[in-house]
């Protein structure tokens, strides 16, 4: 058992972490908004944790709180991300479709360039020597795991409730929803804030997990990776992000024996999966189970 955890512990925790980042993108998506902003909040959260963990300025806090400084980092990261989401979201969410996506891409790039240039973030080198919450990488499952479980539970309740219904209404047809008295902007911003906060908290948890933090942790490539998790996993189910992350985050590692052609095969799998599983893994599983009723999408039809 110990050896299994030594070998695969980091990977499993990474899958959980990536699933959470996929979820952060799922919220806006479930309200019909394509936001690729998560890496920006992830980077922000990570820097907050890294700075609190290493800067001289915060040494008294660290001495005072001991291990309790970690939950503090998460809370601060969460609050900061929530505020930033509000500031960015209010103007950005007036945009539709691809335009919103592009605005969020711009946001991520701006965060990255700023973090590359400030001295408090360590510039190009970043921040290293981040104090550890757990000795082994597998230990971090004790924070990521419960967070994932809590997130899934929260999402499930959300989707059952009024807010979730509002999201779905907006996703299906924003104008109709507005006509029915739902204020789309309010709900879209809510979805955006939930996603951003989650990404920020995950970032704060990830800084010790990766031992170091730098401007390379929140990039455009990451946005597309999270989007891929949700798309491949299935955009209409809260399990989608987890399934997608489980497949895509482990894929490069499973393909390790292939050495040089590893990433070529990885890319091909991405293409094949996106073509043959257009409803995602969740959709494919549902079809396999021969579920009679689906969410109103007739097989093969498209007007």
């Amino acid at each position: 058992m110990a050896e299994f955890l030594n070998n695969y512990g980091f990977l499993i925790v990474t899958v959980v972490q990536q699933a959470l980042l996929g979820m952060s993108l799922y919220y806006p998506l479930s309200a019909g908004q394509l936001s690729l902003a998560s890496p920006g909040f992830y980077a922000l959260g990570g820097y907050i944790a890294a700075i609190i963990g290493t800067a001289e300025l915060f040494a008294p806090w660290r001495d005072l709180l001991g291990k309790a400084v970690f939950p503090l980092e998460w809370i601060i990261a969460g609050v900061a991300s929530a505020l930033l989401s509000l500031v960015i979201g209010l103007p950005a969410l007036r945009l539709r479709g691809i335009y919103l996506a592009l605005a969020t891409i711009a946001f991520v790039q701006i965060v990255r360039v700023i973090s590359l240039n400030l001295s408090i973030t360590g510039g190009a080198i970043g921040i290293f020597g981040i104090p550890q919450l757990f000795e082994s990488r597998w230990g971090y499952i004790w924070i990521f795991g419960p967070l994932l479980a809590a997130t899934l539970l929260f999402t499930w309740r959300l989707e059952q409730g009024r807010i979730g219904r509002a999201f779905r209404a907006i996703r299906e047809d924003e104008l109709a929803a507005e006509a029915m008295g739902i204020n789309p902007t309010r709900y879209k911003v809510q979805a955006f804030i939930i996603g951003g906060t989650l990404a920020g908290v995950v970032g704060a948890m990830s800084a010790p997990f990766l031992n170091t933090w730098n401007a390379r942790q929140g990039t455009f490539d990451a946005s597309i990776a999270y989007l891929a998790y949700v798309l491949i996993g299935g955009t209409r189910s809260l399990w989608g992000a987890l399934l997608g992350a489980a497949l895509l985050a482990t894929l490069p590692e499973i393909l390790r024996p292939l050495n040089d052609s590893r990433l070529i095969i990885n890319g091909m799998v991405l293409v094949i999966v996106s073509i043959y599983l257009p409803q995602g893994i969740v959709g494919a599983l549902a079809r396999l189970r021969g579920a009679g009723k689906k969410k109103g999408v007739p097989a093969g039809g498209k007007t």
């Binding site: 950005a92 711009a106 360039v113 798309l231 990885n266």
Partner: protein, 316 residues
């Protein structure tokens, strides 16, 4: 800023901008027809540069499967360039058949096309590395003939300098833009293309084969991408399979600024982004990218359809 400095920045900006413009056109063409951004475009850009290099110079390095490969026959540069562009166009068509069409046929989520094109980009870039390694390849300076490296002229006491290869690139870009403009606006082919972009259903009712025009569009897009890549390669060297990545992202800023789907918009957007990059004061050059993206964000807030794009009417 003195007149000389202003002029220098202007020239710098226009020359960078013209390459961005050509590159962005590839995105625009595909977007206008399919409504999606083709993330494999950056990879076609890169591939185009390598293909042209293979045909014009053909000496490969020590890494990769084809290490030490030396292609015995070299083509004169203009021929190699043309062939490189055509091959890039064909590769782009192949990408359309393999990664985009099956999705359309199956009624998949349009966003899946993003993931699919990303997969293609990943395959292409890594395949290049697999075959020829990551080393830097350069075109010999004589490919453009025997020319001075730079042109200088004086304004009052200051000197304004521009590299000749930049002038050449600008010239080629303008020629291509004019030809493309003519093709789209004045020929039957162009009219059909515009019809498909406007409304595929109506176009097919009028007897235009939508699928075939999509292929043509991808070919054009790939041709332009390969052209931009080869030109950049001659100016700065082919710096490894990832050298198209920055262009890929800047290209997105360009098309948003100019207006998604608008051809003149891409040109305008490219020039503007190029000018911005050139005019950012040297002390803040680290923030160059942030400036383009901040501008992008601003444009999206104020005028999301871009400078020359069509205002999107929400259909009920």
């Amino acid at each position: 800023m003195t007149t000389a400095q202003f002029l220098q920045n202007l020239l710098n900006g226009i020359s960078i901008g013209s390459v961005y413009a050509i590159f962005a056109l590839g995105y625009t063409l595909v977007f206008s027809i399919l409504g999606i951004i083709n993330f494999a475009h950056g990879a076609v850009f890169t591939l185009g540069a390598y293909l042209t290099y293979a045909m014009a110079v053909g000496q490969f390095g020590i890494n990769g499967l084809l290490s030490g490969l030396s292609i015995p026959v070299q083509l004169p540069f203009p021929v190699a360039l043309l062939l490189g562009c055509i091959l890039s166009g064909l590769v782009s068509v192949l990408i359309e058949r393999l990664a985009f069409r099956p999705l359309r046929n199956r009624g998949g989520d349009a966003l899946l096309a993003l993931v699919s094109s990303l997969g293609v980009a990943l395959v292409t870039v890594n395949a290049i590395q697999y075959f020829v390694g990551s080393e830097i390849y350069s075109f010999p300076p004589e490919i453009y003939g025997d020319i001075k490296p730079a042109i200088t002229f004086s304004i009052s006491e200051s000197v304004v300098v521009i590299r000749t290869v930049q002038v050449i690139i600008f010239g080629v870009c303008m020629a291509v833009l004019v030809s493309l403009g003519f093709l789209i606006a004045r020929t039957r082919f162009g009219k059909a293309l515009r019809a498909v972009a406007e409304n595929p259903a109506t176009a097919s009712l009028l007897g235009i084969s939508v699928n075939r025009f999509i292929l043509y569009t991808f070919f054009l897009s790939g041709f332009l991408g390969g052209l931009a890549g080869s030109l950049v390669g001659t100016s700065f060297g082919v710096a490894g399979p990832y050298f198209g990545v920055t262009y890929g992202l800047q290209g997105i800023a360009v098309i948003v600024l100019g207006g998604l789907g608008s051809i003149p918009g891409s040109v305008l957007g490219g020039i503007i982004i190029g000018l911005i990059e050139a005019f950012v004061p040297p002390d803040y050059s680290a923030y160059k990218e942030a400036v383009s993206f901040a501008l992008l964000f601003l444009i999206l807030m104020v005028r999301p359809q871009g400078l020359l794009g069509q205002s999107q009417i929400q259909k009920v």
